[in-house]
């Protein structure tokens, strides 16, 4: 692989664009494939097969050829509401798992650059913050403040936009109250049941990193279920 291709790949990954690396295994040549861009002469004749491969988001050798395709898809966006202690560990796990993390917390003393270096923090109330964030059914929400003033508007947004994973921290009692508030706000029981609350899989741990691990485990599991 040429160094300039490697650098181009890294740049595209940083920009979170979707692309594929295609390599001719018998000549050693490689190139970057993007859906809307033409390929060079060396790869042109395989374009249809490469496109099919790319659409299925798989890696592998195209049948009956020497062309290897590796697809890079956009990382999943995970929005954390509450720049609390658990969030600091979640950010660490998410880095190794390549989730794209965004933190919303209107409380400036929590959501500081010093506590969350190099993480995008939106220092606003959820309703305002969501105006700046593109979300869809590939987005996840982790609500950690267990303060209805902050968590509830975010949960409502996530339910309306059909996020694939919605989790909310809090005891069973807290969660029951939360569900009642959402019912009062007009959400159906089915919708409300889609919220993972109390959040996380049962590991038994109570410390911040243990709770973060239980949340991130549930998040990965739900990602593969979808």
């Amino acid at each position: 692989m040429k160094l300039e291709i490697l650098k181009e790949i890294i740049k595209k990954k940083e920009k979170k664009t979707e692309f594929a690396i295609i390599t001719n295994l018998s000549s050693g040549e490689s190139e970057i494939f993007e859906e809307d861009k033409p390929l060079s002469k060396n790869f042109e004749k395989y374009i249809d097969q490469i496109k099919n491969f790319y659409k299925s988001k798989k890696n592998g050798v195209v049948d009956n050829t020497d062309i290897f395709v590796e697809t890079y898809i956009r990382p999943i966006k995970v929005i954390i509401v509450g720049a609390v202690h658990i969030a600091q560990y979640l950010v660490d796990f998410a880095k190794s798992l390549n989730f794209e993390i965004l933190i919303i917390d209107p409380r400036g003393y929590f959501a500081s650059e010093q506590r969350f270096p190099n993480i995008k923090i939106i220092n606003k109330w959820p309703n305002e913050a969501f105006k700046e964030i593109e979300t869809n059914t590939n987005t996840a929400l982790i609500a950690l403040t267990h303060d209805p003033k902050i968590d509830d508007p975010a949960l409502q947004h996530a339910l309306k936009k059909n996020f694939y994973y919605i989790g909310a921290l809090g005891s069973k009692k807290t969660h029951e109250n939360r569900c009642q508030r959402l019912r009062d706000a007009g959400f159906s029981d089915d919708k409300i049941k889609s919220i993972h609350g109390p959040i996380g899989i049962k590991l038994g741990g109570k410390s911040a990193p243990e709770i973060a691990l239980s949340i991130v485990s549930q998040l990965v599991s739900e990602t593969y279920k979808k």
Partner: protein, 109 residues
């Protein structure tokens, strides 16, 4: 759905190159049967045999490192190698899991 669960190995390769190391990229391109790592898994190896990442569960990495050093010495741009469980294989290492993998080695230059 699939997340990219990407392992940042290419970024690491770039960092190695910045410090004037010669780098070979090893990529799992095909698997048959039960193999420990999926297609697209990667490791990088420098001329001294330092490596990062993985192409198996530790079963064939040592052989991959040797091959990578070999292609740097011979100045070969790329090479494809296969690992099988069979004892008749030329490699003294094999995949204990019973799977087979093909690994593509390429120099970054």
């Amino acid at each position: 759905m699939k997340n990219s669960f990407d392992e940042k190995i290419l970024e690491e390769a770039n960092d190695w190159i910045k410090t004037n190391q010669k780098v070979v990229l090893a990529t799992v391109i095909q698997t048959w049967g039960s193999s420990p790592r999926q297609v697209g898994s990667r490791m990088i190896v420098n001329e001294k045999g330092d490596f990062s990442g993985s192409v198996s569960g530790g079963c064939v990495e040592s052989a991959v490192v040797r091959e990578c050093i070999g292609i740097i010495k011979d100045n070969k741009p790329f090479k494809k190698i296969e690992f099988k469980v069979s004892n008749e294989s030329a490699w003294e290492v094999g995949l204990a899991c019973g799977g087979e993998i093909a690994v593509y080695l390429e120099q970054i230059n």
